[in-house]
Amino acid sequence: MSKQLFALFALLILATTVFSACAPALECTDALGCVTVNEGDPVHFAYAMVIAGPDATLGIDSRNGAEIAIADKGGKILGHDIKFDGEDDQCSAEGGQAAGTKLAADPSVVAVIGTSCSSALRVAMPLWSKAGFTVISASNTAPDLTLAGNENNHPGYLRTAHNDNVQGKAAAQFAWEVLGVKKAATIHDGSIYAQQLQQVFADEFKVLGGEITAQESIAPDQTDMSGVLTSIAAGAPEFIYHPIFIQAGTQLVRQTKETPGLENVKSMGADGMFSPDVMEGSGDAVQGFYVSSPDFSKFGNDYEKNFKPTYLEMFGSEPVSIFHAHAYDAFNMLYACVEKVAQGDKNGGNMLIGRQALRDCMYGTRSFNGLTGSLTCSATGDCADPNIAVYEYSVGQYPPVKVWP
């Protein structure tokens, strides 16, 4: 029996060798190696986004955006099926470590769309960069990730989200010029996103002539904010900037209005708090809370006409967060580059995708016509066409209304 099996195997191997010899041999010459996609195999794109827990809307929304892009392409690339699966980045360094290790070990992954949160990327990116992946994030906004020469800037990393240097400055301008406040305080939660964003805000606010009374911080899962808010109230600011995430952010929104001395202080978050969950979590205190976000009115016509109806149809709701269009663009950029750099049979047959070639193509993206604008990538991976707007929440009304510019 075992002899027969052996013979069968030998025959099979022989047959494979003979058949593959008939096709023109594909040889990988890429500096970082290639992904081999044989006939019938799918092309594997992975995501690493926060898809569970209190910040899940952020990641699920981006994933939905990428899925719409895949559906637009009929689920196929160069005659191969598109495989799209992934890991939860948990919006934390721990989650980034887990997702990073898991995906880096899978050689079939061509590119990663993600992560949702900068904290996760900081840990995962060294692993992915070493594995030769191209990584494109739809929602990382921390400035250091694309800062040339910074230890957190790794080859292979790009993003379609705006850089927080833009967002922090916009928030400072809004506070200074539109609200006319002179004294502001900031709170962050120790995540690199919030920490760097509030720093950009503080620096810009001081340049404009304002005074920063305090730069405080809290734990990301903290519920009781009275200590930190009392400490902030001692400086008597007119404005509090807390660009953090939903769970702790909604507690801040609630408790700020209950803290003596801060009842009438205006407060503002950033793109991490643009979600229906903010309405649910903050209750009545949400009235008058500002958030900065990409300016949806600057998105192309396709966004209102095609993208949003498709979203509603596929997922049964309006977009639940703000980086769906960025994820859509991220996938389409990848798609264009894979089409361009793949070698071999481009009609569903055996092909090779060079990893370095893919990166080069991505960094070379110029005036890519996306939903979020015209995308041109810098040498360190900033691809966004950043237009930031400020939105204001009111009780019982979602999405919030654009108030500036």
Binding site: S217, T223, V228, T230, S231
Partner: protein, 353 residues
């Protein structure tokens, strides 16, 4: 005399004392610097104190559950933090229903009583089931076994609730009668805080009287002294234990509602941190001691809310409020080093432990 002293003091003792002295000095120094800077007004210190008292009241109520169970079974019921979660997480749906039919606004006090009773019932029921299913079969097992079971039960409850109600936080509708402040002389106190402080104190008093002055309380204390002897005296030990879990469950359920009134949100993970803090409070006060639970809870709440602004900011530590959990757990470590029996605890003899 000096010689005996020299023999009984080891190097470890000296190091521990040195660390203690250093910490004491740092706290005093930080406090003095903060006072000199006069960064905060008197009103703000009062606010922080009120905040500490309200947190402390909640910690005390949860700590009571740890302490009662420990007193009787000599085990730490780590699933108690989930007993604290299940009540308010179930009652939130009742609150939302009452709000949707308009009853919540027209009869706020009755609604509040209803959700409190509901929450306490759910918590107590789960506590009793937990005892019956998870702990009773292990009563004569080695001490580590029920401890590990408790941790398992804790995860089981957390993820059951996550499975049933999902990841997202649920929000309690706000009660109009709890908005605003009341004045105690010149001091404004938010109504919610006043309610929490007063009701937690009342509840502690009631529970203390139950343990101290009722027949069942007497039985509890005797079972805690010696189970076998109590059984020989005609006390139904099982019933006493069930009663203990019920008391712990009720106080946790009510604490959960008070917690939700302050913070407005409930989610499946909400018990974890308050549970750990309450455990710290129980150890601080002396585990097994009801008055100790109250003292430990109140002290912990006060230290947590005053500490960062009082001595940490004086020491020049930036963003000191981030470290409030750090302070709470540092206290746990230091009690275990300097006074393992807690403030009001007696040294547990080997035979009892």
């Amino acid at each position: 005399m000096l010689k005996r002293w020299r023999q009984s003091v080891t190097l470890t003792d000296l190091v521990v004392w040195a660390i203690g002295l250093f910490i004491g000095f740092a706290i005093v120094y930080g406090t003095i610097v903060t006072w000199q800077q006069a960064q905060y007004s008197t009103e703000q210190w009062i606010n922080l104190t009120i905040d500490g008292l309200k947190l402390g009241g909640i910690y005390a109520l949860i700590a009571l559950g740890y302490t009662l169970v420990y007193g009787i079974l000599r085990m730490i019921n780590f699933a108690h933090s989930e007993i604290f979660m299940v009540g308010p997480f179930t009652a939130v749906f009742l609150a939302k229903y009452l709000n949707s039919i308009g009853f919540y606004d027209t009869n706020p006090i009755i609604s509040l009583l209803l959700i409190t009773i509901f929450s306490a019932t759910v918590s107590a029921t789960i506590a009793i089931l937990l005892e019956r299913i998870a702990y009773r079969p292990l009563r004569f097992a080695p001490r580590l076994v029920p401890l590990i079971t408790a941790i398992g039960a804790s995860f089981f409850l957390q993820y059951t609730f996550r499975g049933m109600y999902g990841n997202d936080p649920e929000t309690y509708p706000t009660l109009d009668i709890l908005k605003g402040v009341i004045y105690l002389g010149p001091i404004p106190i938010p109504k919610t805080d006043a309610l929490v402080i007063v009701s937690s104190m009342l509840l502690m008093l009631i529970l203390y009287s139950i343990v101290q002055y009722t027949k069942m309380g007497k039985a509890m204390r005797s079972v805690s002294e010696d189970k076998a002897a109590a059984a020989l005296m005609g006390i139904n030990v099982d019933r006493v234990i069930v009663f203990t879990f019920t008391l712990g469950g009720i106080s946790a359920g009510i604490a959960g509602i008070l917690y939700s009134l302050i913070y407005g949100q409930v989610h499946f993970y909400m018990g974890f941190i308050p549970g750990l803090k309450a455990f710290t409070a129980a150890v601080l006060g002396g585990i097994g001691n009801v008055v100790g639970a109250w003292l430990g809870g109140t002290l912990l709440g006060l230290i947590e809310s005053l500490g960062p602004n009082l001595f940490l900011s004086g020491l020049g530590i930036p963003a000191a409020n981030q470290l409030k959990d750090g302070i709470a757990f540092a206290i746990l470590v230091f009690i275990l080093i300097f006074r393992p029996q807690g403030l009001l605890g007696e040294r547990i003899s080997k035979s009892k432990a």
